[in-house]
């Protein structure tokens, strides 16, 4: 298993390099002269040219890319063109926030989603099932910037139970995590339900019941673990999505995470920030994918890696 993990991590390097090339190219192809945007709308021509020269944007593209990759291998992500602070600083300040929000969001999503999915599956087509699925659909359909604001209105402004925005205490994490988790919970619920339904129809379950096992035991010990594989896939994909920056949630709740950093970097053509943020996200996806594959092996003894 460890050899497999090591091999996967080594394979991550060309993936990251590929992403680096793509983001490097894209950021320079997008319309809007970065020197002009960075210099500001009230900047004189001389100043814009000085900015261009200073950022090395007047050098040939190949030269820029080589120097970019060279710095990357040394762990130097460069300096933000707007704030001139090392990009590593900006990313390091925000990454823990994104990780904590993602984990909290996934906790909400998995707890609510799996429970809802199992409950629906054991009583298919009943009132419980229909209502749970309806609520799931609602959760999926509500735009985050609306549901987030509604939660703030009810719990922070009207009831005053929770802080409205920002970070600082565990209490600050609750509303953003719930907002973020709702849509993902809905997806997980539907996936769990359909997967469980399929498993509950299979022969070995009929055998377990025929053996005389109590229904809760059948569901938890036999059906559930087998239904997990597709659910783990979904959880893995969703986690990657959440890590890449729940930008809307971060904006509504003033949560300083990678998502907002990335969007702000794009809007201000702050290349080094965009490059670093995209690379961090790509790395996160690679690691999450690896984690999910390892989980498969744990959940299903039939799966081997060698």
């Amino acid at each position: 298993m460890w050899a497999y993990i090591a091999k996967r991590l080594l394979l991550a390097i060309p993936v990251i390099l590929g992403v680096a090339f793509v983001v490097f190219a894209m950021v320079r192809i997008v319309p809007g002269d970065p020197a002009q945007v960075i210099a500001g709308e009230a900047a004189t021509k001389e100043f814009v040219e000085a900015v261009r020269k200073d950022l090395g944007l007047d050098r040939p593209l190949l030269e820029q890319f080589v120097s970019f990759v060279g710095n990357l291998l040394r762990g130097d992500f460069g300096r933000s063109v707007r704030s001139r602070a090392p990009v590593v600083l900006e990313v390091r300040a925000r990454l823990p926030n994104t990780i904590s929000l993602t984990l909290a969001g996934m906790l909400v999503a998995i707890t609510v989603g799996v429970t809802a999915g199992v409950v629906s599956a054991v009583r298919p087509y009943s009132l419980v099932d229909t209502s749970v699925m309806l609520v799931a659909l609602a959760g999926l359909s509500m735009p985050v910037f609306w549901s987030g604001l509604m939660l703030i209105l009810v719990f922070a402004v009207w009831l005053g139970w929770l802080p409205a925005v920002g970070t600082g205490t565990p209490a600050h994490l609750i509303l953003p995590a719930v907002t973020l988790g709702m849509a993902t919970a809905a997806i997980i619920a539907r996936m769990t339900r359909s997967s469980m339904l399929e498993v509950l129809r299979s022969d070995y379950i009929r055998t377990a019941r025929a053996k005389g096992l109590a229904e809760p035991s059948v569901v938890s010990r036999h059906a559930f673990r087998n239904a997990l594989i597709p659910v783990i896939t979904v959880v893995g994909l969703q986690m990657g999505t959440l890590l890449s920056g729940a930008v809307l949630t971060e904006s509504v709740f003033a949560w300083p995470g990678i998502g907002r950093l990335l969007v702000e970097g794009i809007l201000t053509r702050d290349y080094p920030i965009v490059q670093a943020a995209v690379l961090v996200v790509a790395m996160a996806f690679v690691l999450v994918n690896l984690f999910v594959d390892v989980l498969y092996a744990i959940a299903d003894p039939r799966i081997h890696y060698d």
Partner: protein, 519 residues
């Protein structure tokens, strides 16, 4: 009966006197506490020579001071400089500086420090975007420990106003030399507050400077929090997590009027919103069509509906609190006059005037809605406008193209006259030497008489003379309908009742230097 009446009247009078005394007790500011303000964006770089946006400057100006300050009423007042005098040639200025002032790191503020900071902005290697404000300075020299001499290449009237600009802040030379490019993360000034911490993307915290030379602050700390979403920021204000929220959506003002815990302050800003015509390309080469649009658009209605009355219809190309402003008779809403002008120019409902109208989205308050309103109003006069919008970075690039490539017909922009002086508000936008890429005259407006007047306004020192010069220039610009004149924005700021003494400056700075919290 009469005695009862007399008694009743006396009692009433005593009661009224008691009431008015109770209603206006002497209020002593309380010391201590942490005030929290919600901004829409984080600080970018805490170095006054390099900062560009209002939120960053707001934070900086609590810590870094300039030689002169621009008061909320638009007057230039000495601050770190005590007095100034100019020689007969109008080119040599002598500034006497305040003595006994120290930077937050203990080093002295003196003539050497003042020279260092001005030279730093003038040095092209610094890449300061504000260099052009003082580029007419040819030399800065130290006369003695508290006097500097500044020489310009020609008499430059706006010099003092330009020295009030945040970009001319006096920062510690020792700190700048020691930290180099990392100085922008921990500024050192002479101000009422000093830097405490910056949690990137979240907040900047400043703390009271107990060695400040003037009136010390009442507050212990001020926190500048980043809350990007307008609705969430307002919710945070209503929930009491913050004391002040900037940019409250104007539509909320009505609802918040009934609140007992907070109030909404609508105050002027120095920012004018306008639509410029490219006067070198058809159809707006024809002045009648530019005037027709000005008559067709009901600016009052736009301000009343899209901005809930929180803006001031423009009666000049610059805002009223800019030095050099005077009210010019403008274009009141007159549909008939608009249609008459259109007919004269050869257009009618059968053959309508068509143009493409570029506008930003989300850059200025309700910019997209205002553009849509203009389109609707123009249609009533038989003018068909096609709206086009772009993300702001791309939008600026599009409008900043040189004349040969610039095919834009009309575009919306804002201009903040941050120096509070008419030169900054007019020269860069209307002088024919300021076509892009050199300047910001992106409508390519050219009028020889206006050029002469704007040049003269720069070198005339006497303010009443300057007022006359600018009045004439603005009259020509208005008659020429170089712009579709819209409005000057107001700042709509929410303040909780517990926060007192908050100053909302027209240059879009919310200042806590004299603020206190009522406990």
């Amino acid at each position: 009966m009469r005695r009862v009446l007399a008694l009743a009247v006396s009692l009433a009078l005593i009661g009224a006197a008691a009431f008015s005394a109770a209603a206006a007790p002497a209020v002593t500011p309380q010391r201590g506490g942490v005030a929290i303000i919600g901004h829409g964006t984080d600080a970018v770089i805490l170095d006054s020579a390099l900062a560009t946006d209002a939120p960053t400057f707001t934070i900086l100006e609590h810590m870094v001071e300039t030689l002169f300050e621009l008061t909320a009423e638009g007057k230039v007042r000495p601050r770190l400089a005590l007095s100034q005098s100019v020689a007969a040639d109008g080119k040599t200025w002598t500034f006497r500086l305040r003595q006994g002032v120290r930077f937050h790191d203990g080093t002295p503020f003196d003539a050497e420090a003042a020279k260092f900071n001005l030279d730093r902005v003038l040095d092209t290697a610094t890449r300061s975007p504000w260099r052009f404000l003082i580029s007419r300075i040819t030399a800065v020299s130290v006369v003695d420990a508290s006097t500097i001499r500044v020489v310009t290449d020609a008499p430059f009237a706006p010099l003092l106003a330009h020295l009030t600009h945040g970009g001319m802040g006096m920062q510690s030379p020792a700190a700048i030399r020691r930290l180099g490019v990392d100085y922008g993360r921990q500024p050192v000034g002479t101000g009422v507050f000093k830097f405490k911490e910056w949690v990137r993307g979240d907040r900047v915290v400043v703390t009271r400077n107990d060695d400040f030379y003037g009136d010390k602050a009442f507050l212990d700390d001020v926190q500048f929090r980043v809350i990007p979403d307008d609705g969430a920021r307002l919710a945070a204000l209503e929930a009491g997590s913050i004391h002040v929220a900037v940019r409250v959506p104007p539509r909320e003002i009505e609802r918040l009027k009934t609140s007992s815990t907070l109030s909404v302050e609508v105050s002027t800003s120095l920012r004018t919103i306008y639509v410029a015509f490219n006067v070198t390309r058809p159809p707006f080469t024809d002045r009648r069509l530019r005037q027709a649009l000005n008559y067709a658009v009901n600016k009052r209605a736009i301000v009343a509906s899209a901005l809930a009355g929180t803006a001031r219809v423009s009666d000049a190309p610059i805002a009223p609190n800019v030095e050099g402003y005077s009210a010019i008779a403008g274009y009141d809403w007159d549909l008939e006059r608009a249609e008459a002008l259109l007919r004269e120019a050869g257009y009618s409902r059968a053959r309508p005037l068509r143009a493409v109208f570029h506008h930003p989205s989300g850059r200025y308050i309700r910019d997209a809605e205002i553009a849509a309103s203009i389109q609707g109003l123009a249609r009533r006069a038989g003018i068909e406008l096609e709206l086009r919008t772009l993300e702001f970075g791309a939008y600026i690039a599009l409008t900043a193209r040189p004349q040969a490539q610039n095919d834009i017909q009309m575009y919306m922009l804002g201009w903040g006259t941050v120096t509070g002086d008419a030169d900054y508000g007019l020269y860069a936008l209307f002088h024919s030497s300021q076509f892009p890429p050199v300047g910001f005259n992106r409508g390519f407006y050219k009028n020889d008489r206006v050029d002469v007047l704007l040049d003269r306004g720069r070198v005339t020192i006497d303010q009443s003379e300057r007022d006359k010069i600018y009045a004439e220039a603005m009259k020509i610009i208005t008659d020429d309908a170089a712009w579709l004149f819209l409005h000057s924005e107001s700042q709509v700021t929410g303040v909780r009742g517990t926060a007192q003494g908050v100053i909302i400056h027209p240059a879009e700075r919310v200042m806590f230097t004299r603020a206190w919290l009522r406990r």
